[in-house]
């Protein structure tokens, strides 16, 4: 088991190293560079100054050269300075990361907490009116674009009925404390939850319907287990096996949903940091934040595989034992 985890971590490290080059190259291929922005902000700069600045920042060197020197520094723990924040990248990121963890964590917990009971109820009463209502809501959530949903929520709850703040994480003038922070989280969390809960519910429903048809459910009934015990004990654990995979794989989607949500609500999280650093040609920041998003997705996949083995005794990652059917 430990060997398996170490092997997977090694593979993940290789993927991250490869991705660092891909992202570095893509950023390098973006039109414009920081010097262009400097020129735009200072009309007195001459082309000669620009060329000299490019040489100072190393931007005149070939892409691979630049990547290698970045990689050498990165291995030493130096990820460079953020151009926009004028501080080391690793000093800036934690604050934004914490905000995103709050946003994504809350909406993830909320989504799962809604999706499991809703999916189970829909599966138990397949084709009932309740099932149809749940399905309709799911498809509405899946189909609505995140940015539009965010706009609608802002119009409804910040403009027409001004009961919730439309942006940021704290009121101007501060002082609100936890309640103020919570009020600022409501709309972004609601947006991201509506974005993800529909597909989760559909997955839970499909898996549950499949499991409730199995022979062992009939066996459980034959030995006198009641309906709720059948569903919550005998069926749920089996149904969770495919659901866990799908949810973990959707983590990347949740992250990109968070990017749009944070931008819409001017919420200072990783998504907004990525967006601003790309728009502002903040190379170092964009690179590290995008790599971080990659690492999160890889970690989610690893956790899904471990959860798999925990839920399903037929799956074992122990060395030598091999996979059983």
């Amino acid at each position: 088991m430990i060997r398996y985890i170490l092997q997977r971590l090694g593979e993940s490290a290789a993927v991250i190293a490869l991705m660092s080059f891909v992202i570095y190259a893509l950023i390098g291929l973006m039109p414009g560079d920081p010097i262009d922005l400097m020129i735009n902000s200072d009309p007195r700069l001459t082309p000669a100054d620009a060329a000299r600045l490019r040489a100072v920042y190393g931007l005149d060197r070939p892409l691979v050269d630049r990547y290698l020197s970045w990689a050498a520094a990165a291995i030493g723990g130096d990820f460079g300075n953020s151009r926009l924040h004028v501080r080391p990248v690793l000093d800036v990121m934690p604050g934004f990361l914490l905000n995103t963890v709050k946003l994504m964590g809350l909406s993830f917990i909320l989504s799962v907490a809604i999706a499991i009971p809703a999916g189970v109820i829909a599966a138990r009463r397949q084709n009932s009116r309740l099932d149809h209502v749940i399905n309709l809501l799911c498809f509405a959530g899946i189909s609505v674009p995140v940015f539009w949903l965010a706009l609608m929520l802002i119009i409804l709850f910040s403009v027409m009925m001004p009961i919730l703040p439309a942006s940021g994480i704290a009121s101007v003038g501060g002082g609100g404390g936890i309640m103020d922070a919570a009020r600022h989280l409501v709309l972004p969390v609601a947006t991201l939850t509506i974005f993800s809960v529909g597909s989760y519910t559909r997955f839970v429903r499909a898996a549950m319907i499949e499991v409730l048809r199995q022979d062992y459910i009939r066996t459980a009934r034959a030995k006198g287990a009641g309906p709720s015990r059948i569903v919550w004990v005998h069926a749920l654990r089996n149904a969770m096996i495919p659901v866990v995979t799908v949810i973990a794989l959707s983590f990347g989607t949740l992250f990109s949903g968070a990017l749009i949500t944070e931008t819409m609500f001017a919420y200072p999280g990783m998504g907004k940091l990525i967006y601003d650093s790309i728009m502002g040609n903040d190379y170092n920041m964009a690179l590290v934040t995008l790599l971080f998003a990659t690492a999160v997705t890889l970690a989610a996949n690893l956790l899904a595989d471990l959860a798999y083995a925990w839920l399903d005794p037929r799956i074992s990652y122990a060395a030598g034992e091999g996979a059983r059917p």
Binding site: R218, T219, A222, G224
Partner: protein, 328 residues
């Protein structure tokens, strides 16, 4: 019906009918079946796929798959009427008074719980006791069904033990609460012949100890002959012949039963071709008029196609639903 002083049969089924509504009409899966099994006795129910033998069993358990439903019939367990009970009452009876084992022990056991835990659950669902007692009970049951090293096997998952052991675990689970009736639906069909014999031996041994009635369903007459005291032959949702086992095998009266017995391979008869029953089981929506076996029956004539023959007896325990059955 039940006389004071006379112990009622462990299981009594009267005029059971099961219908499956389909788009093309109602399918009568079980068409008026009656039988009784006394304490410590075994009734073998034999028939081809689709003859209604499994549906009879599931109706007794109250576990008919949707959209199937009982349209008539009364089911008594130990003299108590259990048909028509609500789901809560039926849940209390399943496992406690009627146990059931199934054909495929791999899929019938939950893959994510250990074998021991599943047996312990069967016990504790009907007993007010703690985890430790349930575990002890399960260990005793594992030992009772002759699974070696119960304390080590307790934590094994179904995929880690053999098919024969899985079926033993199923038996332990079904008998955890010492039910009055055990329904065994093709319990040996998925197993090797040698394991089959061991499972039958185990069932008979536990039966002599616990005294439960067994309803043993199989398409295999050979297996039925080894275990059953009485045999009911089913065809197209009806019992066509019902007799004590020895009578049925020595002097079958129904042409269908005779044909079935003729198809049993015999040791030493290498040079002869095994006879087969011509034709196919009729589609339940396209039954021939009168006797459902008439279109495959060598004896059938116009009289057979006039009315469905009823189970009748010539004054003994041997009942047959055939107007051509000769008295033997």
């Amino acid at each position: 019906m039940i006389n004071a002083g006379v112990a009622p049969p462990a299981l009594e089924v009267e005029d059971l009918a099961v219908v499956f509504p389909t788009r093309r009409g109602d399918v009568l899966a079980v068409a008026g079946v009656s039988y009784a099994i006394g304490r410590g006795r075994t009734l073998g129910i034999v028939g081809e796929s689709g003859s209604g033998k499994s549906m009879t069993a599931l109706a007794v358990m109250g576990l008919l798959p949707a959209p199937g439903r009982m349209t008539s019939g009364r089911i008594h367990v130990g003299g108590d009427l259990v048909s028509g009970l609500g789901e809560d009452d039926m849940t209390r009876i399943r496992g406690e008074r009627i146990g059931m084992i199934f054909q495929e022990p791999m899929t019938a056991l939950n893959p994510v719980f250990s074998v021991g835990a599943q047996i312990a659950e069967a016990w504790s669902l009907h007993r007010k006791a703690g985890r430790a007692e349930a575990r002890d009970a399960a260990l005793a049951l594992l030992d009772r069904v002759r699974i070696p090293e119960p304390s080590r096997r307790y934590d094994d998952y179904p995929h880690q033990i053999s098919g024969g052991q899985r079926q033993r675990a199923m038996i332990a689970m079904a008998l955890a609460c010492k039910p009055e009736v055990l329904i065994a639906d093709e319990p040996t069909t998925a197993l090797d012949v040698t394991i089959q014999a061991q499972i039958i031996e185990l069932l008979l041994e536990i039966q002599s100890e616990m005294g439960m009635a067994i309803q043993f369903i199989s398409h295999n007459l050979g297996v039925i002959s080894e275990i059953a005291d009485d045999v009911a032959v089913m065809y197209a949702g009806r019992i066509v012949e019902y007799a004590p086992s020895s009578r049925l095998f020595e002097s079958p009266r129904h042409p269908y039963t005779r044909a079935l017995i003729a198809t049993i391979p015999r040791v030493g008869a290498h040079d002869t071709r095994l006879p087969a029953i011509g034709g196919q089981v009729p589609h339940p929506l396209a039954l021939p008029p009168g006797c459902p076996f008439s279109d495959r029956c060598p004896l059938a004539d116009d009289d057979c196609r006039k009315a469905v023959p009823q189970l009748t007896t010539q004054g003994d325990a041997h009942r047959v639903a055939c107007i051509k059955a000769e008295a033997t």
